[in-house]
Subunit: 306 residues, 2 copies
């Protein structure tokens, strides 16, 4: 491993550790007035699904894109935690029997398996809601306009034109509502998985009150990284190791899903990842050496084994 | 009917009509960049559950509490629409087979019956998310701090310490997760149904940048109204007419639920409603004649037949 690779890995681990601690605190200190009964089972379920693991890639992108503008780490971590709440909620709901019906996640039973469907639905709802509580907090930025921009962009990344809309198109493409609907994988995944990853990148620009040019650069970078992430995911489902992944492989093929691999072939998909990494690098050029960690992040995403 | 009653009914209908038109517009013009594929089924499902009916009581409370401070009607309607999105999402998820398993809502099949469970989960998620897109919009208030206060208060009303937490306590009280957990109905309902109704009332104070005293008055009023609303609901489940209600009655008894009626008896519950109306009136005293519509709203909520 090169020095840079060791440094990257350390930074990623440190942000994961900090995010874990922050989420644990946010879920322990959930802001409840005295008169309110603490819904213990709900909070336990939220903790089950949001603590204890994950690479915390989305918070890492917030922290590192914000670092390019000298934003205080604590503020970026808080915005990252809000984004991670959205990510965790989406995994809980996607795993439900009515959706992807998955039993295993990160090597553990999924939330509805460990608890029950009603608890999983509510815990997902509550994590989604908590994200919007967190992202508005004063500690994130002194300027209320900045916090509002962050909040609205988060709602759009998660909503109809982002993650939720992409998940619906994905289910329609599987033929869940009748005939399989035709799928444009790149556009679908730009919504389903891309929107949150891209948010992680532009959140830094918003927090840093960047120039329009810098914002656009991080937006371009985020799009390239998001697509590379999904292609790697599709490749892992074909070539990956179930133990390392902590979930079953071959699920896309079992569902007859249209993926980057079915559209481009394995070699075509790998070539496309190379093109996307070049695009990510090019987008970051205006940041010079300040873009090094983000450059490494794109490589990490493309080469990951889980 | 007295003149005041006619006027109240007209005002309620007008706000319902305006809210309907606004929600239809918000869901038709959902903010999607050109490159995004419009997830048609998702938007159709969101429209199915959020358009075509309902008293729109929560938006009405926002509009009328805001009117006491001379806030522009358009701004209050927009905040009301955000609140109504949260309300509609909660009905969709509560109706799911894994939750209350209800087939009928407002005299029509529930969303998961008309579509399917996956669509219902996603439509609920997307409405919850859309609420936070709407509540941050510039048209709601020129001061970003005001919009942030509205946003955070909405997240708290809907979250762990509010609606989602209350629904979890309600399910636990039904014995859904093992032995029935003891229930304090007043505190549970203050969360489950009270938090959103109360938000409708304090939203006006936030929009109107009220004094602390006026905020507290609307907060007290909103709490009294919220509890009166739920007692009326519990009474309707025992004494109401299923056709007028557009849903089955006797569901609480069938589930062996602890309600205001099982705790206080029918007469005790009715007496408690009277006390709450007096409390609502007292809270509004500082508004003088400007509180008349809200006074009538509390009576309407207590006396409603559906």
């Amino acid at each position: 491993m090169t020095g840079t690779a060791i440094d990257f890995s350390k930074r990623l681990d440190q942000t994961a550790e900090d995010t874990e601690a922050l989420l644990a605190r946010l879920l322990a200190d959930a802001p409840l007035p005295d008169e309110i009964v603490r819904p213990k089972r709900l909070i336990e379920a939220m903790r089950y699904s949001s603590l204890g693991g994950g690479k915390r890639l989305r918070p890492f992108l917030v922290v590192e894109s914000a670092a390019a503008f000298g934003v205080a780490r604590e503020a970026a971590l808080l915005a990252g935690a809000a984004l991670e709440c959205i990510h965790c909620y989406s995994l809980i709901h996607d795993d439900l029997p009515a959706m992807d019906n998955s039993d295993l996640r990160r090597g553990r039973p999924t939330l509805h398996k460990a608890y029950d469907d009603a608890t999983a639905i509510l815990a997902g709802d509550a994590l989604l809601t908590l994200a919007f509580d967190i992202i508005t907090r004063d500690e994130i930025h002194k300027d209320a306009n900045v916090r509002l921009l962050l909040t609205r962009a988060l709602a759009r990344a998660a909503g109809i034109g982002g993650m939720a809309g992409g998940q619906m198109l994905d289910l329609a493409g599987e033929g869940r509502f009748g005939d399989r609907e035709p799928v444009d994988v790149a556009r679908l995944q730009q919504m389903k998985t891309g929107a949150l990853l891209r948010y992680g990148c532009i959140a830094g620009a918003i927090l840093g009150q960047s120039s329009q040019k810098e914002y656009q650069a991080l937006d371009d970078y985020g799009r390239a990284l998001g697509e590379a992430f999904q292609i790697a995911d599709d490749l892992l489902d074909v070539e990956g190791d179930a133990t390392a992944l902590g979930k079953q492989t071959g699920q896309d093929a079992a569902l007859g899903k249209t993926t980057f691999v079915t559209q481009l072939g394995i070699e075509g998909a790998k070539k496309r990842v190379g093109d996307l990494l070049a695009r990510a690098d090019a987008a970051l050029s205006i940041f010079g050496a300040k873009g090094d960690v983000l450059r490494a992040a794109a490589r990490f995403v493309a080469d990951r084994k889980n």
